[in-house]
Subunit: 139 residues, 3 copies
């Protein structure tokens, strides 16, 4: 059993930009040289989330709309009143969907469904450069 | 430390059918021969989620109602317009609740509360046969 | 690779009381003597959740308001009709946000962002004493 700490970086457009990171995660699993185990994808920050989705333009648009319903941008968030950065909705959405995802891999392949991709959602209200932690544990 | 990959299979009724999988997960932990560790329950697909609940008929009905509020079936999802399978709401609900759950076990027992069960929610809009990945890591 | 099972205890006010447990989790990681790995924080019960947030009073208030929107206290939950404990909303919120969080640590430090804390949310409708499981795996 080994633990390998990696990270991936990419740019986002903010505003619930949804980024397919499946390829980057699979490549790090391949580079690890491990056959069986899991990859922990972790967002070191409070305005982004990781989950999975069928990554096609329709659902990407539907998810953005659903996040706007879950925690609308236009509400009077106390966070905005105190800090003035206008991203109260970003924080609430990120906490609700969560910063952490664990995906198994078997024989070097992530055990995703055929129409299932790992996504990062940048809930923040501006473009950002993001770095996610990938911790790969296995044998 | 060992990693053991198993899976469980079952049939669902779809339409947010909520299945108590605690017994199946505990049996796989017992079969693993491991005493301490964790079990990663993973849904290889984009229309199902795993979480925990007090599994009693009242809450099962309440959760179905709450999911209908979270992402109503009747909205005009772009996914439905493009693909015609009518399960846009299924995908959104599944992504929000997530496909992955990690539960510790100590002395061969899942560390669940007395009134806490592990559930799979089939968000899809039709009955399905499901296979979940169980990755058991421990010693 | 080692697995160390610990727990932390604290009191809450219930009613979506949000408790910053980052310090307690980091101390257990330090006490473990492990350098690299992950900590699994698990709620053994069906009315509490773990996630992360920027822990400042504005967002704490915003999160409580958002949870009230997600699953309002005043609805006619079947759970309440059957069991009379009035915490149907607590269960639904807890199942949606989830009982499990995995956070990596590297060189003995949790890989949290600067403005990101680990929180327990007590969704129940009364003050409670809580015990969470911390399972620390690493080397």
């Amino acid at each position: 059993m080994k633990i390998i700490n990696e990270h991936i970086t990419f740019k986002t457009k903010g505003h619930s930009d949804i980024v397919d990171i499946t390829g980057q995660v699979q490549r790090e699993v391949n580079s690890s040289g491990l056959n069986n185990g899991s990859v922990l994808v972790f967002v070191p920050g409070a305005t982004g989330s990781v989950t999975t989705i069928e990554y096609e333009p329709g659902l990407v648009a539907d998810m953005k709309a659903a996040l706007e319903t879950l925690a609308p941008q236009g509400l009077d968030y106390d966070h905005n009143l105190k800090w003035g950065d206008g991203n109260g909705h970003s924080h609430i959405r990120a906490s609700m969907l969560g910063p952490s995802l664990v995906v198994p891999f078997i024989d070097e392949r992530l055990t995703l469904g055929t129409w299932q991709q790992i996504i990062f959602i940048d809930m923040d209200n501006r473009p950002r450069s993001r770095e996610l932690i990938l911790q790969i544990t296995g044998e």
